[in-house]
């Protein structure tokens, strides 16, 4: 069983607060707390909250959007969000941040991994309403203003980490989160920390080499 939310190992890192963790139970509780009636469609399919950003969606039970402010990549972003909308959908379909990929949309693969207050989190299993007041970092937020790659990104290039590249943004974000919590992990610690991110191409060895290189670089 993969951990639902990656837990940084390594004793050197900051202890993760309980409130920072998002479990499946919290995810469901979050929906109840926002007063949403989950549309029947989302019960059957696995796809929820993909709003068409049009007036025609208003008036359907449980799909009233609310204007909220999210802190994404250091910027305050005002965005209309449905009660049951996941952060992955808000990022991808409303904020134009398509670097966060959806591989399964149900907490199995880790392709949508982003950082919330520096903790790697599955954006497909996080409600957008639940991250108000938190710092959200996506793959698009790693490069410096002048375009320099983050050391983890540099290492992923140098070690030829990606194959097809679809899981790569999630892998990079998990690595960034790991190194924030534990700047010099062992290879064993690194692979445990990365184990919530699946790669069907099987580029794990190259990814691990990338993480270890990044640890040496930073």
């Amino acid at each position: 069983m993969k951990p639902e939310v990656f837990t940084p190992l390594g004793s050197g890192g900051p202890a993760m607060s309980v409130s920072a963790r998002v479990s499946r139970r919290n995810f469901i509780k979050g929906i109840i707390a926002t007063g949403a009636t989950v549309a029947s469609g989302s019960m059957l399919g696995t796809l929820t909250g993909c709003s068409g950003e049009t007036a025609s969606t208003a008036g359907i039970a449980g799909t009233v959007e609310r204007l909220i402010t999210l802190n994404v990549n250091g910027k305050a972003r005002r965005v209309d969000v449905l009660p049951q909308e996941t952060l992955a959908m808000t990022l991808r379909y409303k904020l134009g941040l398509t670097g966060t990929k959806l591989g399964c949309d149900r907490g199995e693969c880790g392709a949508c991994t982003i950082l919330i207050d520096d903790i790697p989190t599955y954006a497909c299993s996080t409600l957008s309403h639940g991250v108000r007041g938190r710092q959200v970092t996506t793959i698009e937020g790693l490069q410096t203003a002048n375009g320099d790659l983050h050391p983890v990104q540099q290492a992923f290039v140098a070690e030829l980490g990606p194959q097809c590249g679809y899981c790569t943004p999630g892998q990079v974000m998990s690595a960034v989160g790991l190194l924030k919590a534990n700047p010099s992990p062992t290879r064993e610690e690194a692979r445990r920390a990365m184990s919530g991110n699946l790669c069907r191409c099987g580029a794990y060895d190259n990814y691990l080499n990338s993480v270890m290189r990044a640890a040496r670089m930073s």
Binding site: K2, A39, S40, G41, S42, G45, T46, L47, T48, G49, C50, S51, G52, T54, S56, T57, I60, T63, R92, L97, T98, G99, T100, K101, L102, G103, C104, D105, R106, E108, C109, I139, E140, L142, L149, Q153, V157, L160, G161, P162, Q163, C164, G165, Y166, T168, P169, R187, E188, R191, R192, S195, L198, C199, R200, C201, G202, A203, Y204, D205, N206
Partner: protein
């Protein structure tokens, strides 16, 4: 070793930075003004017919735009796979697509559609369908097969007699009427003189591809063209097939496939689902985004066919394979399926070179997801079935496991199979030798069987093969007046970086600095040549040839232009430092930039106003589109290609297996390959390791599970399918390559992508059997409860021939 400047050297692929920054755009990352969302209604039953359907309530919902059903599309002849259907043949088969302003709304609307189903007979077990009176997966038969390119596939009904089943025991595969068979040599005579004969019945499970990017697609129509953003392993090869599915001419299709989030054979080129948004968009006149969910991807994403098989192997005293019999019943899914069973037989003939062999095979339809190629289709199942049996023979005959493989492996002189074909070159033995050295086989062998509490060590070696190249496609390069070399490539981007590794051949031939080169790809508007799809481990062989001939054409044109401008004949000139110069007086020269400008001034063949007649129409159109932009190098690959170009891989595994839990840890893995000249060491290293990761899953984790009562799947998600994770691997993996040039390729290269999976799967299976002191399961995946049963002498919970089972 070679003297290449670029080939065999690492490079930073032009698409890798986009992958690590999230800027790489996959199909679902595009947005178009006015885009609406489609959802699929899929079959809840394994086989049924729609008696009545009422969608009026759904279509009346505000925000619902329209619907596409099978009745909107041209009918499809059985057993071909339909795009949408009123008679689904598997759970999850698309029935209709509905578009709405939002995706949630589309899904809500689907639930307002009332369908009255007529359930029909179904089967999830091929053997059961061959029983007298057994159910057919299709109303018109149970044996479907293709008849080669361009011929429509056929469907027949085949039942075996009660006698066929009664002649063998419960634990043996019967063999009645076959659909395909061949034989060569004196099979029975050779069996008669064999000193050791193995006769085993085996099962290999069907497995999902589970590409991490589901096959989502976006399509819209603009100014008479259909624009499709799709997920395909291939670029140019996808175009005519997708255009055909949409019902338009290839030149009216714009296909953008710059990135593909994994295909493994299931996105080889066009597939029916990719055409749904195009059809729906045409009908409702809005851009349509169709996202495919993970659960849907299990169904429409297709699968590797499982085998129920029986193999007889007759060995001489010294371990030489004298005779082989191979019988395969293939779980072929609901439609045409794929010819894994034939490829498996070919692989047995080629990898183990039996002196005589008989093959009989039959694909049987089941009401399970469609079967398409999956990385090493047939060859890798075969490796899993045969390799542990080689160990069994080695053990019985007292021969080393590597040695029995070396003894039977093909070499440069081998003729194999019923047609006694030759190979372009073959260095499996060298791969085995090099891998054994890197692994420390002789030392590790001493660890075999060593106990530590409940844990025991096992080691294993495995081999696999796939053909590795084709010929006859086109290459296209442009030298621009800015002094750049544009290498146009029509291959896709399945994640191997071979789009660039093969393009570097053009730079090598033209002696261009890599900094001066631009790889042009990923969008059919970019004037791309006709190239083969990125499947079948072929790219490294096929497209080094196309880029070579295009670059050679450019070299010849450079020399001709120099002769025209500077006097003498073309033969008086050579190239170097991005100049064409007089051999006798190197200062008399033209830079590539100047030559490109001269090509534009002269026109004709030099800058694409004329093109060779033997080019594919797509390439000709691309040349016409580029005419006047520089010096055009373009040619069809008419180079000689005799024999099968092979890809050979050997894997070595060291495990520690826990007899109490049935779990194991892989302590070491070495992959060794023969792929001719190595083009891109890091890319190769990555393929060998990635293939092994997938192979470990095939050997011990992944499988289809179907409920025989209701035909419902029980292993749909990634979690259920148990694809390999970081924690299933050794901490580090090692690779090595023979790196010997193939004489049939201008730079000596061949492909490798597929056997690197099968060899690892086989090696792991062999290591497990080794740890269990020679218990052979004859089944994949070998899951922990099977290991515990074997270790404790208990009977296995599955029947020998049971398929789609836990």
């Amino acid at each position: 070793m070679n003297n290449y400047k670029l080939l065999g050297k690492n490079f930073t692929p032009p698409d890798v930075v986009a992958k690590v920054t999230g800027k790489a755009k996959y199909a679902e990352d595009f947005r178009v003004e006015g885009m609406v969302y489609a959802r699929l209604l899929t079959s809840p039953m394994p086989h049924a017919r729609i008696k009545r359907m009422d969608a009026s309530e759904a279509l009346a919902m505000p925000g619902v735009i329209g619907m596409l059903t099978a009745d909107d599309l041209p009918p499809v002849t059985s057993p071909q796979k339909p795009t949408l259907t009123n008679e689904p043949h598997y759970v999850g088969e698309p029935i209709l697509a509905l578009a709405a302003e939002s995706e949630t709304l589309a899904q809500d609307a689907l639930e307002k559609i009332k369908i009255e189903w007529e359930p029909l007979p179904f089967t999830v077990d091929p053997l059961e369908s061959l029983y007298p009176g057994g159910a057919n997966a299709r109303t018109d038969g149970n044996v479907a097969f293709g008849r080669g390119f361009g011929n429509p596939p056929v469907i027949e009904e085949t039942k075996w007699s009660a006698r066929d089943f009664a002649t063998v025991g419960e634990d043996q595969l019967p063999m009645g009427k076959a659909q395909a068979e061949w034989t060569y040599g004196d099979v029975e005579g050779n069996f008669a003189r064999a000193s050791y004969i193995i006769d085993e019945t085996f099962v290999t499970a069907g497995t999902s591809h589970h590409c991490l990017e589901p096959r989502s697609a976006l399509a819209y129509w603009q100014n008479g063209k259909c624009i499709v953003h799709g997920s395909s392993q291939s670029q140019s090869f996808t175009v005519p097939f997708l255009a055909g599915m949409i019902g338009i001419k290839p030149e009216d299709l714009v296909f953008i496939g710059e990135y593909c989030g994994g295909g493994f054979g299931s996105k080889g080129f066009a597939y029916t689902e990719m055409s749904i948004p195009a059809h729906l968009s045409k009908k409702i006149n809005r851009p349509v985004m169709m996202r495919i969910s993970r659960a849907e991807e299990f169904f429409v994403g297709a699968a590797r066919p499982g085998f129920q098989g029986r193999v007889r192997l007759g060995f001489a005293e010294n371990g030489r394979l004298l005779a082989a019999n191979l019988h395969i019943v293939q779980d072929n899914g609901p439609d045409t399926g794929f010819n894994d069973y034939m490829s498996a037989a070919g692989a047995l003939a080629l990898v183990y070179t039996p002196e005589a062999m008989t093959f009989k095979g039959i694909p049987v339809s089941t009401n399970t997801p469609p079967r398409v190629p999956q990385r090493g289709p047939g060859q890798n199942q075969l490796a899993c079935a045969i390799e542990p049996l080689l160990d069994k023979a080695a053990k019985h005959l007292g021969i080393d496991q590597v040695e029995i493989r070396t003894l039977n492996a093909p070499n440069n002189d081998t003729r194999y199979g019923p047609k006694q074909r030759g190979l372009t070159s073959a260095y499996m033995n060298e791969a085995l030798e090099q891998g054994a050295m890197e692994f420390g086989w002789q030392e590790k062998k001493k660890l075999s069987g060593q106990r530590n509490g409940s844990k025991v060590m096992g080691i294993g070696v495995g081999q696999a093969y796939h053909s590795a190249g084709s010929s006859g496609f086109d290459g296209l390069v442009v030298l621009t007046p800015e002094g750049k070399l544009h290498i146009h490539t029509g291959v896709g981007n399945l994640g191997t970086y071979s789009h660039t590794a093969t393009s570097r051949v053009a730079a090598e031939v033209l002696k261009c600095d890599w900094q001066s080169c631009v790889v042009v790809r990923g969008d059919s508007r970019k004037h791309l040549p006709w190239n083969l799809a990125q499947f079948g481990s072929n790219t490294s062989y096929t497209m080094t040839r196309t880029n070579y001939v295009a670059a050679m054409d450019a070299v010849n044109k450079l020399k001709e232009i120099a002769a025209l401008d500077l006097g003498g004949t073309a033969d008086d000139y050579d190239i170097g430092d991005e100049k064409v110069f007089a051999i006798a007086e190197p200062s008399r020269s033209l830079s590539y930039a100047d030559a490109a400008q001269r090509a534009i001034d002269i026109g004709g063949k030099y800058s694409g106003q004329e093109a060779p007649d033997d080019l594919n129409a797509m390439t000709r159109a691309s040349v016409a589109g580029l005419a006047g932009t520089g010096l055009i190098g373009v040619a069809k690959d008419n180079l000689a290609s005799e024999g099968t170009p092979p890809a050979f891989a050997a894997g070595f595994v060291h495990i520690e297996l826990d007899l109490e839990t049935g779990g194991y840890e892989i302590l070491d893995y070495v992959g060794a390959v023969d792929c001719g000249t190595v083009l891109h060491p890091m890319g190769l290293d990555q393929q060998i390791k990635g293939g092994a990761v997938m192979g470990f899953g095939m050997a011990t984790k992944e499988r289809h599970v179907y409920d025989p009562q209701n035909g419902l799947p029980a292993a749909v998600g990634i979690h259920d399918s148990k694809i390999t994770t970081y924690l299933d691997l050794p901490l580090e993996m090692r690779t090595t390559a023979v790196d010997k040039a193939d004489p049939m390729n201008p730079v000596g290269s061949r492909g490798i992508g597929e056997p690197v999976m099968g060899c690892a799967a086989a090696a792991l299976l062999c290591a497990i059997s080794d740890a269990l002191d020679g218990h052979y399961f004859n089944r994949i995946p070998i899951v922990p409860d099977m290991i515990v049963n074997a270790a404790s002498g208990r009977e296995q919970s599955h029947g020998t021939l049971a398929v789609n089972t836990f």
